[in-house]
Symmetry: C2
Subunit: 275 residues, 2 copies
Amino acid sequence: MTYKELVENINKKQSFLCVGLDSDIEKIPNHLKKLEDPVFEFNKQIIDSTAKYTVAYKPNLAFYESTGISGLISLDKTVKYIKENYPDIFIIADAKRGDIGNTSKMYAKAFFQNQNFDSVTVAPYMGEDSVSPFLTYENKWVILLALTSNEGAFDFQFIEDKESKRLFEHVLTKSTKWGTKENMMYVVGATKAEMLSDIRKIIPEHFLLVPGIGAQGGSLEEVAKYGMNKNCGLLVNSSRGIIFADNTENFAKIAGKKAKELQEQMQKLMFNHMK
Amino acid sequence: MTYKELVENINKKQSFLCVGLDSDIEKIPNHLKKLEDPVFEFNKQIIDSTAKYTVAYKPNLAFYESTGISGLISLDKTVKYIKENYPDIFIIADAKRGDIGNTSKMYAKAFFQNQNFDSVTVAPYMGEDSVSPFLTYENKWVILLALTSNEGAFDFQFIEDKESKRLFEHVLTKSTKWGTKENMMYVVGATKAEMLSDIRKIIPEHFLLVPGIGAQGGSLEEVAKYGMNKNCGLLVNSSRGIIFADNTENFAKIAGKKAKELQEQMQKLMFNHMK
């Protein structure tokens, strides 16, 4: 997907919502568990009821890998289902990969050639040659970890060099030379929304993927206030708050309702802050 | 596997060799490609001819994920084959994972419960809660990236704070509080062997997993000279230099020969440097 297509879709849907498909088999409604592929059936219903309000889906690979081969089959089916039925929706492999060049090339093949994801999240610790193989695919994206939403973010990401430049700022400044705003985004946690002004000084134009609203406690309003740019420039993720809002036979309907509520908040925030 | 068992096996075999099973389907001998599961057949023959000289195997997940479900079936079969036939050999999932706690827990389940690996490589960028879920499994290990073997290591790992402490040193000092030498190792690239003395000052007792000899240019002698401790404390990995040393019908025999050569060098180095 191109930058232009993504921006158009955000404007059309008046939404910058990404739904996280962290489809833990232990948390999905019981009535699905007797089906042949409960996780795919869960995803399919969630997708059908949220797609109208959503510009991106983000399956987290860990939840699929945790059940072995069957989980990976559910994932493959999910990606195909989205591509076939909602081709305008951006799909993120939340995989946090990154290895030496020779190896990252194989991961890129896995996510972009075999599985047709639009993007993959990548960890920056190993530097340029661990990231660049993902950038050789046309209209595919790297979403690089900058400032994550978890408590452990404080362990290393805020380490300051002699000029008081923090590690996550090094990641931003250096990595912007590896790609462009048309093939790179950054993960910035909503739990650190107050940092978004500093981040926007370094990368005014790039898209940010923002996890951490809802269960992790981040505020959507603050994210929009400090992080939005003239093309929106945000994908805000909600996982548990939407997909596990209900675990009865009504789960998909309730998920749709939760997604709609977020879309309506987002529409207002776009009206107020896109400039 | 326990620390004690690993050390005993190193002493018994007089080897600290780890064979990297980066079994790229495009590089395996042609005569195997007509079989039902060429990658597993390749691994099986490599394992049978190198196990005598080897204390660890390290499949790199990227090479298996790059061919989708079939690759993951080959990987499952490989891990089972090693566990059944060579139960004293330590198996590393070279996966470079790491995510928020809730998610790392799922990765730990994937590698330790479903797949029976002994250890998994983890990237440190997201801090403690991304690592600690892997440390809750008895006799399973985290192998944390500290100083990697690639060129990109210079992008962030050497950033110095105000007291000239480098990022990889922060990773070492901080993470030693998360686990012990009995459930944590560190990745230190052989291409940066001169750094091993500094690293040993911080972690004198932990095992180090050392990639980068052979194709990437690191020296085994320097690694032993600067990195070995009284329990050896090293697992040195060779991938391409062993598994792709030959691509005729003799590939496994040649791989065994290459592994034996390394084991013999290692035996001498253990005699000279274990103290």
